[in-house]
Symmetry: C2
Subunit: 301 residues, 2 copies
Amino acid sequence: MGVLVVGSVALDSVRTPFGAVHDALGGSGTFFSVAASYFTDVALVAVVGDDFPKAGIDLLESRGVDMTGLTVEKGETFRWSGVYGYDLNDRDTIETRLNVFEGFKPQVPKGLLGSEFVFLANIIPALQSSVLDQVASPKLVACDTMNYYIEGYRDDLLDTIRRVDVMVLNDSECRELASEPNLIKASRAVLDMGPSTAIVKKGEHGALMFTRDSIFSAPAYPCESVFDPTGAGDSFAGGFMGHLAATGDTSEANIRRAVIYGTVMASFCVEKFSVEGMASLETADIERRFRMLKQVSHFEP
Amino acid sequence: MGVLVVGSVALDSVRTPFGAVHDALGGSGTFFSVAASYFTDVALVAVVGDDFPKAGIDLLESRGVDMTGLTVEKGETFRWSGVYGYDLNDRDTIETRLNVFEGFKPQVPKGLLGSEFVFLANIIPALQSSVLDQVASPKLVACDTMNYYIEGYRDDLLDTIRRVDVMVLNDSECRELASEPNLIKASRAVLDMGPSTAIVKKGEHGALMFTRDSIFSAPAYPCESVFDPTGAGDSFAGGFMGHLAATGDTSEANIRRAVIYGTVMASFCVEKFSVEGMASLETADIERRFRMLKQVSHFEP
């Protein structure tokens, strides 16, 4: 069935207590695509500059990602640099240079207008909406955002949220979007904005999934070596949407399984820089962590 | 089978964004005893001053707590006062007056020297050890502590930890005790200190349980109205030890269930001030939340 993602493709410079990389392949669309590619066909709509390295294209192609929607513009690729301390939950952004991303107007290629599973990665809310204007009748749309858009683009963001099925946020974003410190109440408030499902990512504490009449608490994968958390949220979304698109099943039971696959892909992501941790996995590696998470959360009545 | 607890009985003055209480019944031994009393017989070893209100004694008696080990000394009862902000994970201690607790020398009454399940609540490590010197051959000993003892009484604390089966800590205490920021590695380091099981309480994020060859991730109960977190950790320990003592079963499957019962009792504790949230529960209330936690964490392979 396949999944369509609109997001950023960037070059990241990251420093953690364990090492550093310069201009490594990054961006929400990239992490999402690589993660989802283990489950289903992925088509990426994004923009890069004419400085974008061939190695980046090669990696995405090696994962079978459809890049007919990737535009190459004259100029520099989006660059982000950040530093993490020993508490890997906190990061400082050193620099964000939007470059060609500033003029990004997502154009969904003709052949993808019938996409059934759509992920709106973290970009300007009005652009997220413009993608929904183009896609004919998606079966399931999921959407991410960030504090910057919650604060500065609230009305546009609410317009987008009204049109999506699954809202994916981290815990601080969820509290801020709902102006409510209690996470359970905040998540219910997000559902009142339109989506039928809200997923709250809590990093090392796992994830919560809310529908109007149920709550699912997913454990975190017990990572002993978290190396670089960059892209974990987008990798989560990739595993989540990848599993849903591969199965075409949007029942609650399957959405719960999708949350677990998202957790698994995030766990691979954080073990190395950039997309290295997800570059060459086997299905068996993914299934092993899925089963581990089942054991980790199991108790008998 | 019953459980023996050694801890504090105090009068707490607490302010949260939702209200305030003055000289309310508190202390680790109190919260533990009330929580455990729903599962098994509880005997409390503690000290109070001659100012301790009859209402406090009445409440513990109404829960059937054996108080032959409760000493009444001339002087004032241990008093603690603290303030919570909207982030209920953070609290400021305003004042701690040990009073008669300063001279506390726990004496286990003769009739309780054969206790099989023992909980060493958060008191000076050397006193925790002195209890173990008295009890003949316990089947399972669990122990709590706090940052203050980790920092100032490290050698004594390590002596105690070496002798216990289950170490119960919160996440920041676990990281500090092990001098290791990664919680998975830190918990393994705690197991290397002696215990066969380490339980890490993470407040609104649930709890983790570690043995030498397994990890259990317990969900938090989704509380929409957290009113006062004081005593949550001791109530968790009460539900945990209460279930173990009631069943006499220390298999891993049953220890996992005990963690869930601990989570349930903590969820009742935080909904009101002092022990009010746990003062008059029915078994059906407890079982309902247990089943809810099963639903909340369930996914199919």
